[in-house]
Each structure stands twice: as structure tokens, then as C-alpha cells.
């Protein structure tokens, strides 16, 4: 099923362009909602008054952004729906129940955000639980879905075990980027706690990535040959080497925390972005040009060019504008998180 068909011009390039755009949207989503959901999972729930105010600060740090961050998922899933309708049906049809869990998680997390701020203080802790568990459910389902996707929706023992494990990895990854976000956006005790979380989660994430990198080529011979054939093997070696380098720098920074302190507080977050990016590149390279591994490639799944051209033009004009005002929004809320006040 793989291998590009004999297509030329637009019919060849449009699906390639759109799969790139879709991957970009998924990547931006994973980074942005990744830190939101990670912060949600990390909410400390022990019964101390200090942690209650820490929860407020943590949630305040993602307050102005979560809504727009979640929109990247709508765009990514939307692009799949629009540009690759049969892949959208195939993927989501096979992931009916995990998708339900994801949506329930996102719903609970999203509404807890507003309800916690508006309900009487007795109920606030309960909404914080909803926030935390909703974040965890949404994150874990995403990891499970990616796992099922990689094994080609094989609902057998090995497939399920892999997907369940993949859920753990993605949760760890989101917790890592969430903790990294907190190192940037908070101060004092909470910042130190975040550094501890980040260090633990970094190692869990790496362990997960390592296992996935072993399993994936092991079960998919095509993936194996893509990675281990000469001469591209030497170029691809850059992926794990970069990962190793980034990890060592981050680990050094976190171990010595708060040694070099504020000046480098953005470092773990950038490291997380690089790790996410390398994972995406690795996954994308493994399966391209298949959009559903082993079942459907991008040209078979693509919508007609009469639909793709107008969206392509729209996206080319609008996405830069979106990035521009997203940057504006981040600039407005630059620096350490402060208490959220409606104005």
C-alpha cells in the first residue's frame, strides 16, 4: 500500500502539503495543550492550605491560553476530516471508545476551569479534582489512541498492552512539558517542586520513547528498513543523538536547580519542545506516506483538489495571522503568572 502512485502536479503535492499542515497542527497542539494538561495532572491535591494556593497559581498560569490551545486540536482533527475524510472515518471509527474518553476528559477539564473559580469554596476542591482527573483522562486517552494507531488498531493482547503503555508515555511527556512550563511561569517553592517533577517525568518520558523506538521497527519491517538502511542511517542517527544531548543539558540544569536560576528558566520548556518535535519527526518518518499505517496512504485518503485548493489558500493567508495574534496574546501575559482577575 505504500510507495507513491503515479501522480503529478497538484494531485501529488496537495496531499503532501496538507499532511504536513495537519502534522504541524497536531505538533502545536501537543506542545500547547500538552503543557495545559500536564499542569492539570500535576495539581497537588494533598490537604494543605499551601497547596490550595499553589493550585490557584498553577491554573492561573494556563488560564488565558487553554482555550486557544485546545483549538489546535479542532484544527488538526478538522484538517484530517476535511483533507483526508476516509482516514478520519477509519481512525475515529476504530477509536470510538477512546475518543469518547478523550472528549469526556476534555469536557470535564474545560468546564472545571470556570466552575472552580465561580463556585463556593467548599466545592472548589471538588472541581480541582475534576480538573486533575479530566486532564489525566484526556491525556491518557490521547496516548492510548496514538498507541492503537501505531499498531494498526490491532485490539489483541499485544496491541492493547502497547497502547496502554503508550498512554503512560504521553502522560509523562505532558507532565514534563507542564512542569517545564511551571518552571518558567512560577517562583519560589512551587518552582522548585516543578523542577523536581520535571526531572522525574523527563526520565519516564525518555524510557517510554526508547521502548517505542525499539518496538516500532521490531513489529513493522518496513519501518525497520526505513531507519536502518545505509546511508540514511547515519543522518537519522542525528535524532537520537540530539535527544541525548538535550536530555543531558536539561538534566544538568534540573539537578543543580535553582543554581543558575531565572536566567535559564525557559530551558526545560525548550527541551520539551525539541523532544516532542523529534518524536513527531520520528513517527512521521516511520509511516510517511501512509496516513493510516499499512492501510491507507495520503493520496488514497485525500479529498478532491476542488476542496483542498480553497482551504489551502485560506490556510496560507490565515495561519500566519493566527500565529501573529497568538504571539501577541503570549506577550500580553509574559512573565510570571499572577492571580487571575476578570476585567
Amino acid at each position: 500500500m505504500t510507495g507513491s502512485p503515479m501522480l503529478s502536479g497538484l494531485e501529488y503535492w496537495l496531499p503532501v502539503l496538507f499532511v504536513g499542515l495537519m502534522a504541524l497542527a497536531f505538533f502545536i497542539y501537543a506542545v500547547l495543550d500538552g503543557y495545559d494538561l500536564g499542569v492539570g495532572i500535576l495539581l497537588p491535591m494533598d490537604n494543605k492550605s499551601a497547596t490550595a494556593s499553589e493550585r490557584d497559581t498553577m491554573i492561573a498560569s494556563i488560564g488565558p491560553f487553554w482555550d486557544a490551545n485546545e483549538t489546535w486540536l479542532v484544527l488538526a482533527v478538522g484538517l484530517m476530516l476535511i483533507a483526508f475524510p476516509s482516514a478520519h472515518s477509519l481512525v475515529l471509527g476504530n477509536l470510538y471508545l477512546p475518543a469518547l474518553a478523550l472528549l469526556v476528559g476534555l469536557i470535564l477539564r474545560g468546564v472545571a476551569f470556570d466552575f472552580r473559580a465561580k463556585s463556593p469554596s467548599v466545592h472548589k476542591t471538588r472541581w480541582d479534582w475534576v480538573f486533575k482527573l479530566g486532564s489525566l483522562l484526556a491525556t491518557y486517552s490521547q496516548g492510548f489512541m496514538i498507541g492503537m494507531y501505531v499498531v494498526g488498531f490491532e485490539y489483541n493482547l499485544w496491541g492493547l498492552a502497547f497502547a496502554l503503555f503508550s498512554g503512560v508515555c504521553v502522560s509523562a511527556g505532558y507532565c514534563f512539558i507542564g512542569a517545564a512550563w511551571l518552571i518558567m511561569k512560577t517562583e519560589a517553592d512551587l518552582q522548585r517542586r516543578a523542577a523536581n517533577w520535571a526531572r522525574t517525568m523527563l526520565w519516564v518520558t525518555l524510557l517510554g520513547l526508547l521502548l517505542i523506538s525499539v518496538v516500532n521497527p521490531w513489529v513493522n519491517p518496513e519501518v525497520f528498513s526505513k531507519w536502518f538502511e545505509l546511508p540514511q542511517f547515519f543522518i537519522l542517527l542525528l535524532v537520537p543523538l540530539t535527544l541525548l544531548l538535550v536530555t543531558m543539558i536539561t538534566e544538568t540544569y534540573l539537578r543543580g536547580f535553582p543554581g543558575t536560576g531565572e536566567r535559564w528558566c525557559w530551558l526545560p520548556f525548550c527541551a520539551a519542545v525539541v523532544i516532542f518535535l523529534l518524536s513527531f519527526v520520528g513517527l512521521g518518518y516511520s509511516f510517511f506516506p501512509d496516513i493510516v499505517p499499512g492501510q491507507l496512504n495520503i493520496w488514497q485518503a485525500a479529498a478532491d483538489s476542488s476542496a483542498l485548493v480553497p482551504i489551502g489558500i485560506g490556510a496560507a493567508v490565515v495561519v500566519p495571522i493566527i500565529l501573529l495574534y497568538t504571539a501577541f496574546s503570549y506577550r500580553v501575559f509574559w512573565g510570571k503568572a499572577t492571580e487571575l482577575k476578570y476585567h
Binding site: 488565558p64 476530516l81 476535511i82 465561580k118 480553497p310 497568538t326 500580553v332
Partner: protein, 456 residues
């Protein structure tokens, strides 16, 4: 049960999801323009009450918007999980419209929402006003695109069909399809009315709780005056929309009016019990020749009956009753608007019983909007895209057990959220009634005449 197969369950689930979802955008589309109005009033008059009104309602906006966003994400997954045939057949038209909604509307509103909600002390007042405006533009654009797609599903135009698959020919004709202008204006007015009754209802509640600050008085008046103008306008637009439907979807009109057999001088039925087995109505109460007069502007005008459409007509009872609920609510709204504004004009404030009526009608807009959507959506059946794709040909082959599970899950989650939303809304109103009284009392003391003036 045999009737509750995957098709029926998926339809119920979609109806549940979209009914729950539409409640919140219906409020936020208009509420954001109301917020912009409050903001501009504050900027122009310098009256700080408008700023307080803005801060109170922006919290409700935030809560409503969040519920709209999370319930909306569900929608974008539903196509793949339950209705794969829809995108496979008409995706070339539906896709770009949905895509433009995400690209031009969703990001705009979601990003500027952060600045609008939490950026008040971080940006200048001018930028903050601009952020409010951007969110309002975003919500309206979102309505524009999704209604363009929905209208196209009712009155498809500007496309060609090859091998059962739809291809776009003219995007202008697709977007501005025959029913779009009517549906768009009808929905924008529905949103405005829903918002006006929400504002009036919550303000009435605060007044009933003894809130003597100027804020709720300003907003009560704002809501009532909006109803006074919008409710009759909606009746007029609804009438035009009906005529447009008669032209393009006569089967829907036949179901709305309960006309089983083509007739001249058809009565306007106020009540009846449609009987789909015997193809007739029981217990008819109607105005003779009324339907013909309204629809054809001729007492003896001919209206096509359901007999003309063989098996391709919608189920009658739900369309028939939903239509009466919608129109009934509309008439009630017009009366409440006139009576309320009259009392305000003569007496300066409402009677307590009038406040209670407004409180009871806080969510009147929801009822009317949902009823209206049921009329138009059930009225399109058995098609998902009129004349092009039947609903049953678009559905998934998931086992019904899965759909049962998802349906029940959504039903429980939504029931809890709806309760929490309404509960929180009134909780916020009570809090505002009690807490702000000290800070609010000051500016009104200085200028009693001015306060009287705005109350009247």
C-alpha cells in the same frame, strides 16, 4: 429493541450533542456584542456602572463560552465516529466551510478571549475594547460559516454530483445558497433574543433579591428594550424564512402545518394530534384558510400536502409540535417586551410579578431556539443533505452497544453540566447582589437625579 439501531441511536446522540452545544453559542454570539455595547457605554459616558456591568457579564460569558468550546469539540469528532458517509459524499463542500470556520473564527475568538477576560490590567483600555470586538467578530463569523454549511444541507446549490460524490462549482453559490440569508438572520435574532431574556431574567432575579444597585436596573432596561424591537422583527424574518422554505422544501412546510393532502384554502392549525398511520389529524382547532393566507398570500392558495412526497417526507408530529412551541414562545416574547417596556415607561420600574415573569423566562430563548432547530432539522428528514444524501446512508457501522454507551455517557455528563451551569449562574447573581453593594453605592449617591433618569 429493534427500532433503536445504530442509525437511530446515532441520530439521538447527534441531536443530544448539538442541542446541548447550541445552548451556549446561542448566548455567546449575542452576549459578546452586548459586552461591547457595555464597554463602549462605559468609555463614552464615563459612568462606572457600565464597567461593573461588563465585569459581571464577562464572567457569565467566560463560563458560557467554555461550555460552548468543550461541547463543540465533540462535534468535530462525531463526523468520523458516527457519520462517516457524510464527509465521504459531501466532504468536498462541507470540508472547506468547516475549515474556514476553524481558521477564521475559532482561533480569533479563543485567543482574544484570554486578553478580554484576564488582560484588563495588562493592556490599555483601547486594546481591551478591541479584544472584546475581536471576540464578537469571531463568534459571529463562526455562526456565518456553520450556518452556510447547514443551509447548504437544506437547500444545496453551486455543486455537481459525480458518482454520488459532490464537487463544488461555485463557492459563492454554495455559501449564499437560497436559504442561507434567511437562516442566518433568523439565527442571529434568535441569539439576540436568547441573550436579551437571559440578561433581563438574571437582572430581574437580582432585583427580586433586593439588589438596589443601578447595574441590574440598567441591564433590565437594556434587555427589555432589546426584546421590544427584536421579538417582532424575528416574527417578520421567520415569516420570510417560512416562505423561502415553502419554495425549496415544501415537504417541511406540509409537516409544520400538518397538511396530509394537498388542499386549497388550508386552515392555520393552532392545535391538532397528527396521526401518521391514518394520515390525518385528530382534534383539529384552526383558523379557516389561515395557512393558505400566510403562505401564499391568497385565501384559496394551494398548499402541497404530504401525499405529494411518497416516502421522502419528515415525520409529522415532532415537526408540527416543535413549530407550535417556537411560535408560541415568539408570541409570548412579543407580549412580554411590549408590556415590560410600557410599564418601565409609565412607572419607571416593573411590578414584582413582572420581574417574576422575566425570571421564569430567563431561558425562554433556549426553548424557542431548540424548538426552531428541531423544526428545520427534523423537517429535512429523511435526508441529511436535501435530495442528495439520506441520513441512513451516512451512518457508521459501529455496534449499537458502543453507541448506547457513548449516548448514555454524554447524557449523564450534559445533565450534570447543565444543572451546574444554571446553578452557578444564579449563584453569581446572588453573590453580585450581596457583595458589590458597598462599592456600588457610592457613585449613585452623588447624582440622584441622574440615577432616576436612567431608571425611567
Amino acid at each position: 429493541m429493534e427500532v433503536l439501531d445504530t442509525l437511530m441511536l446515532s441520530r439521538i446522540q447527534f441531536a443530544l450533542n448539538i442541542s446541548f452545544h447550541i445552548l451556549f453559542p446561542t448566548i455567546t454570539i449575542a452576549l459578546c456584542w452586548a459586552l461591547l455595547f457595555f464597554k463602549l457605554r462605559a468609555n463614552i459616558t464615563g459612568d462606572d456602572t457600565w464597567n461593573r456591568i461588563y465585569r459581571f457579564w464577562v464572567k457569565i460569558f467566560a463560563l458560557t463560552f467554555a461550555l460552548g468550546v468543550v461541547s463543540g469539540i465533540t462535534m468535530s469528532f462525531q463526523f468520523g465516529t458516527n457519520w462517516p458517509g457524510f464527509m465521504e459524499k459531501v466532504g468536498n463542500v462541507a470540508g472547506p466551510l468547516l475549515g474556514y470556520e476553524v481558521l477564521t473564527a475559532f482561533f480569533l475568538e479563543a485567543t482574544f478571549l484570554g486578553v478580554m477576560l484576564f488582560g484588563g490590567d495588562k493592556v490599555s483600555n483601547r486594546v481591551h475594547t478591541l479584544a472584546t470586538f475581536m471576540v464578537a467578530i469571531g463568534t459571529t463569523l463562526s455562526a456565518f460559516w456553520i450556518l452556510a454549511l447547514n443551509s447548504w444541507m437544506h437547500t444545496p446549490a453551486g455543486h455537481v454530483v459525480r458518482d454520488g460524490v459532490v464537487y463544488p462549482e461555485s463557492w459563492l453559490a454554495i455559501i449564499f445558497n437560497p436559504s442561507f440569508p434567511y437562516r442566518f438572520v433568523h439565527m442571529m435574532l434568535a441569539s439576540s433574543l436568547t441573550c436579551a431574556f437571559l440578561i433581563a431574567g438574571v437582572s430581574a432575579y437580582r432585583l427580586l433579591r433586593g439588589d438596589d444597585k443601578p447595574g441590574p436596573r440598567y441591564t433590565l432596561k437594556f434587555g427589555l428594550v432589546a426584546v421590544l424591537f427584536l421579538a417582532p422583527a424575528q416574527a417578520l424574518v421567520g415569516d420570510f424564512h417560512g416562505l423561502n422554505t415553502l419554495q425549496h422544501q415544501p415537504a417541511k412546510i406540509a409537516a409544520m402545518e400538518g397538511i396530509w393532502h394537498t388542499e386549497r384554502g388550508a386552515p392555520l392549525l393552532l392545535f391538532a394530534l397528527p396521526d401518521s398511520k391514518q394520515k390525518t389529524n385528530h382534534f383539529e382547532i384552526g383558523i379557516p384558510k389561515g395557512a393558505s393566507l400566510i403562505l401564499t398570500h391568497d385565501l384559496d392558495g394551494e398548499i402541497k400536502g404530504l401525499n405529494e412526497f411518497a416516502d421522502a417526507h419528515p415525520p409529522v408530529a415532532p415537526v408540527f409540535f416543535s413549530f407550535r412551541v417556537m411560535v408560541g414562545m415568539g408570541v409570548l416574547m412579543i407580549l412580554v417586551g411590549i408590556a415590560g417596556c410600557w410599564t418601565l415607561y409609565r412607572r419607571g420600574q416593573l411590578y414584582r410579578w413582572q420581574l417574576r415573569v422575566l425570571l421564569a423566562m430567563t431561558f425562554a430563548g433556549w426553548l424557542a431556539t431548540l424548538a426552531g432547530w428541531y423544526v428545520t432539522e427534523i423537517g429535512r428528514q429523511p435526508f441529511i443533505v436535501s435530495g442528495i444524501l439520506r441520513t441512513r446512508d451516512a451512518v457508521t457501522d459501529q455496534p449499537p452497544e458502543f453507541v448506547w454507551l457513548s449516548l448514555i455517557t454524554y447524557a449523564i455528563v450534559y445533565a450534570c453540566l447543565l444543572w451546574a451551569y444554571i446553578h452557578t449562574l444564579f449563584l453569581m447573581a446572588r453573590k453580585a447582589a450581596q457583595l458589590e453593594s458597598f462599592s456600588d453605592a457610592r457613585p449613585t449617591q452623588g447624582s440622584p437625579t441622574k440615577t432616576r433618569e436612567v431608571q425611567a
